[in-house]
Symmetry: C2
Subunit: 195 residues, 2 copies
């Protein structure tokens, strides 16, 4: 299928907002029928999410999760560890950093799963998805003003929460899709030792 | 687990942007340690996504999907049909409307799956997830300036695209999680005939 009949092309750009966090633009675009329209969206630096696989002493596999209050949705959310890329930062470097800062864990092996776009209608954000295993617990190093709780759950607990509505964060639901298919063997990963 | 140690409370609100589409605020909040911080976010009316199950003449199950150019991410995306709630609109009503407008299909039966929050760090948006079956094809009725292609794929084609990176839209990846577990029988649905 060709993309050409669908593509929109920028003809002008206006900065709408430069906040502390939100950076928004309004672009004027030409549509496939040559008419024009405006598109308003947020420019985002990109982010990573980590699916940390924890082997418990009795040989069970658990995943490391967080509970964090998310102000826009006014709820404590259950999430995989995640965080924004620093300017120019390599996604894997960011994944290693965020996992350590937020949970205290460092991982012996990493696997890149893919990417997700959380909100294609109005943000440029892309989230790089990684698995981590061979975890060793150290010290957390939260950002100032960051409050979150770390806990572990079995994959079947997590999938139950996805079904029942206790997990509604889209990146974490996407992580659950990856987890389910990785553990079943349907989506094998390419694990790499971190040198 | 108690939510109290994590909750942030609003102490002030500033409107940052009232665009054609984006409506953004900066709230001042008190953090769990009684310090203050600001939270910038977009207020969104909410949306729906539909997972339409199509029985082909040979008895195969397919899902109805769309290809649409998404300007912020500069890509043609494969997505389940979706759309924003009108003011005060019931989510199921919106799901029925958006499915018909975007794809031309009407459905005999509907099932509510759950909700997802696409971007909990900086938007209030919630997406209500529905399944639809017993499809009849009629006329599409696209909004002005809306260009999208409708096609059908098997669940295994869709899951392959999720794994391989041709599907990266978070709502559609979440839909794939629901689809996989519904078709396997793990997450049964409560189907209702539309009266």
């Amino acid at each position: 299928m060709s993309d050409d009949p669908l593509i929109e092309r920028r003809v002008a750009r206006q900065e709408l907002l430069k906040g502390h966090f939100l950076h928004a633009f309004r672009d004027t675009v030409t549509l496939p029928d040559a008419s024009t329209a405006t598109r308003e969206f947020v420019v985002h630096p990109g982010a990573v999410m980590v699916i940390p696989l924890l082997e418990t002493p009795d040989g069970q596999c658990k995943v490391v999760l967080e509970r964090q209050y998310r102000y826009p949705v006014e709820q404590v959310m259950i999430e995989f560890p995640a965080g924004k890329l620093d300017a120019g930062e390599d996604p894997l470097h960011c994944a290693v950093r965020e996992l350590r800062e937020e949970t205290g864990y460092t991982a012996r092996e990493w696997a890149r799963a893919g990417v997700l776009h959380p909100v294609i209608a109005y943000s440029t954000e892309v989230i790089h998805i990684y698995f981590a295993r061979g975890l060793t617990l150290g010290e957390r190093d939260l950002d100032e003003g960051e409050f979150l709780e770390v806990f572990a759950a079995t994959p079947s607990e997590l999938l139950g929460w996805c079904r029942e509505g206790q997990v509604t964060d889209a990146k974490t639901l996407t992580g659950a899709l990856w987890l389910q298919n990785t553990l079943s063997g349907a989506w094998p990963l390419d694990w790499q030792a971190l040198s």
